[in-house]
């Protein structure tokens, strides 16, 4: 079913050798992996602080009862949202424009 979509089967060889395709794949994969590693570092950083140095998160902010752990925990949540936003912003403009160029040459 998948391989059999014969209608207008594109030439994968020409696309693969298209310099713009190679450039797109290289920069997108660099970008995606950078963001992935960033997310992993943020999350596992948080987990390791909890496992090894929980007292760090118990430090109070100013004279109140709020600890530094609260804004840090919220920041991890917000960072997940921001990182997806950063990826989508670039992918839906720059990467998609490149993809359209590449696909356009196949017609």
């Amino acid at each position: 079913m998948n391989q059999g979509d014969a209608v207008g089967t594109p030439s994968y060889d020409t696309i693969k050798n298209d310099p713009q395709f190679q450039e797109l794949v290289a920069k997108r994969s660099r970008f995606a992996w950078t963001l992935t590693v960033t997310m992993l570092l943020i999350y596992f950083g948080f987990v390791f602080v909890i496992a090894f140095a929980p007292s760090v998160l118990a430090i109070r902010l100013g004279s109140g009862v709020t600890t530094i752990g609260i804004p840090i925990g919220l920041a991890v949540i917000v960072s997940a949202f921001l990182l997806t936003g950063i990826y989508v912003r670039r992918a839906n403009s720059e990467f998609d424009a490149d993809t359209q160029d590449i696909a356009g040459r196949q017609k």
């Binding site: 079913m1 998948n2 391989q3 979509d5 089967t9 594109p10 994968y12 060889d13 696309i15 693969k16 395709f21 797109l24 794949v25 997108r28 995606a32 992996w33 963001l35 992935t36 997310m39 992993l40 943020i42 999350y43 596992f44 948080f46 987990v47 390791f48 909890i50 496992a51 090894f52 929980p54 007292s55 998160l57 118990a58 109070r60 109140g64 009862v65 709020t66 600890t67 752990g69 609260i70 925990g73 919220l74 991890v76 949540i77 917000v78 997940a80 949202f81 990182l83 997806t84 936003g85 990826y87 989508v88 992918a91 839906n92 998609d96 993809t99 590449i102 696909a103 196949q106």
Partner: protein
């Protein structure tokens, strides 16, 4: 009898608090925290609002059934769901009653520790976006097995993926059914068996008649109700403290028996191996849940798939922040009010463990405290709707694995009409629903706390490695995926059985052969190394076909050229 029933309710509601399920909660404490349940008096407002929800969703199912003509409509809503709708539906598929009641209950009982769970539950989403979402959309049609078997041998790969899907669905579904039965019993005063049958019947109707269109809209409505209700509760809490989190926390610290320690990590995370293993299961398990992966085929293209993850991450993250406020609100507004507690003869009560219905009822009681009986009814109905939306998604994923992967490709070897395939899917949905009711009944008095953890572990150790390796590495062969994926599946299940959560707490042996409650660190490694090693050593004729076909798959996965387009209605 009564006491037994109460304790079971307690145990299973603690199962809902996935915390215990994933083994890092101090279980003694968690179990203790749920003691002292009891049926709620017949709640008329809740029942009326619940019936309004059911009537609305059945209306949508009727409408959806008339629009569902082709297989693409049934499995993927014709690819006609917008990014915003899909973002809400993903959130509705993912935010279970466990997240809502369990995490707010965990915050109520332990404060900061609840936040650790929310964070773990969220961070899988960016990973899905960066590594999986668009490749999935570009390569697949209805199930993630489409993607894995794109260039690999159909029969064997689809069998493996279907087994992976059905295993995850089964464990997840049992936990949800038992939790639903207990929750409804508690909220509406309906007997357990009737509650389980009601949930099973509704999910069969949604899926068998309305397919993906009805399932999607049930999830969207549920997400809106849940987000709306939680927002209102959090606002009511914040208003009482002049929108000052510091004032809220200060009052909570003053009232909570644990005092200032609720503002810092407690003993949720015990050792680094457990911590990492749990983190991996949460992150990559999310990326291997079949009912979640299926949602990416409901949108028109990769652009919409990406956007829907962005929206979903926003909704889910926002929701977890709300549950944190709700948990703290429950501390400040419930703990000094004996009305919400099982009070001893001397008038004294434990502020955490004696909460009526257990700590997982914190959000439900809070809705009463901030909005009166009408709002209590609303939130109870929302909790029920939440379960329905999740089980409908699971049932659809299971039914699709049976019809699209097992029946159409493995049994009928592709020689089957669309109509017939969809009919098989509908029959499968009915069968899965009935099996779920029976299992829900059988497991009523069992400890199902480990099952959601097991579902995530299997998803992370079988579905995710198989999917990632087949799209990312050209050297992956059929045999490699087959053996690696199978090892991941078997090792994750076996290690959970040998872990303290099952070996000691369920079977009653003295010590567990495997010391950690979560196997993901080990079983994921086994799966990835297995796929890599076997593929490397694979000298079969099929291996040459597999690796030669990677180029075409690679170009399509990166560009979407040749991908399935949306169906116009």
């Amino acid at each position: 009898m009564r006491t037994v029933r109460k304790t079971t309710t307690a145990t299973v509601l603690s199962a809902l608090a996935l915390g215990a399920a994933l083994g890092l909660v101090d279980t003694a404490q968690a179990a203790g925290a749920i003691e002292g349940g009891g049926k709620q008096a017949l709640n008329l407002e809740a029942i009326l609002m619940f019936f309004a929800f059911v009537a609305a969703t059945l209306g949508i199912t009727w409408w959806a059934a008339r629009r569902t003509r082709s297989a693409a409509d049934f499995y993927a809503a014709g690819g006609g769901i917008t990014a915003g709708q899909n973002g809400l539906a993903i959130a509705g598929d993912y935010m279970s009653a466990a997240s809502f009641l369990g995490i707010s209950g965990l915050v109520f009982a332990t404060g900061f520790d609840g936040l650790i769970y929310s964070v773990g539950w969220l961070v899988g989403w960016p990973i899905i976006l960066f590594l999986i979402a668009e490749r999935l959309r570009n390569l697949g049609k209805y199930t993630f097995a489409d993607v894995v078997s794109f260039r690999l041998e159909q029969t064997r790969i689809r069998s493996l993926s279907a087994i992976g899907t059905l295993t995850v669905v089964a464990f997840y579904l049992i936990a949800q059914m038992v939790g639903a039965g207990k929750l409804i019993e508690l909220l509406f005063g309906l007997p357990y068996l009737y509650a389980v049958i009601l949930v099973g019947a509704l999910m069969i109707i949604y899926v068998a008649f309305g397919g993906m269109v009805a399932t999607t809209w049930v999830q969207i409505i549920k997400a809106c109700l849940l987000l709306g209700g939680a927002t209102f509760m959090a606002l009511m809490v914040l208003i009482k403290f002049g929108f000052s989190p510091e004032a809220l926390f200060a009052r909570a610290v003053e009232i909570h028996p644990k005092g200032g320690s609720i503002m810092a990590p407690g003993n949720l995370v015990t050792d680094p191996v457990s911590a990492v293993s749990l983190g991996l299961a949460l992150m990559f398990g999310t990326a291997g849940l079949p009912h979640i992966l299926m949602r990416f085929f409901t949108v028109a293209d990769a652009k919409a798939a990406r956007k829907s993850v962005f929206y979903a991450t926003g909704f889910i993250g926002y929701f977890y922040i709300l549950t944190f406020i709700i948990g703290f609100g429950a501390i400040t507004l419930l703990m000094n009010d004996p009305e919400f507690y099982k009070v001893g003869a001397d008038g004294a009560y434990n502020k955490v463990t004696a909460l009526l219905g257990g700590t997982n009822m914190a959000a439900i009681h809070l809705s009463n405290a901030v909005g009166g009986p009408l709002f209590l009814g609303f939130i109870s109905a929302v909790a029920f709707a939440t379960i329905l939306a999740v089980v409908a998604g699971l049932t659809l994923a299971g039914a699709s694995a049976v019809s699209h992967d097992l029946y159409a490709s493995v049994i009928a070897l592709g020689r089957v009409s669309e109509d017939r395939e969809v009919r098989v899917s509908k029959i499968s949905a009915v069968v899965i629903g009935i099996v779920a009711i029976v299992l829900g009944y059988i497991f009523e008095n069992q400890n199902v706390a480990f099952m959601v953890g097991l579902a995530f572990a299997v998803a992370a150790s079988c579905n995710f490695p198989v999917l990632l390796m087949s799209v990312m590495w050209g050297g992956t062969t059929t045999l490699g995926v087959l053996i690696g994926g199978f090892l991941g599946l078997v090792s994750s299940v076996a290690l959970v059985v040998l872990s303290p959560a099952v070996w000691v707490k369920t079977f009653g042996f003295a010590t567990a052969p495997f010391p950690y409650d979560n196997p993901a660190l080990f079983s994921m490694t086994i799966a990835f190394v297995g796929i890599w090693l076997v593929s490397k050593l694979d000298r079969s004729a099929r291996a040459k076909i597999d690796t030669a076909a990677y180029e075409a798959q690679y170009v399509r996965s990166e560009t979407g050229i040749g991908a399935t387009k949306a169906v116009a209605h």
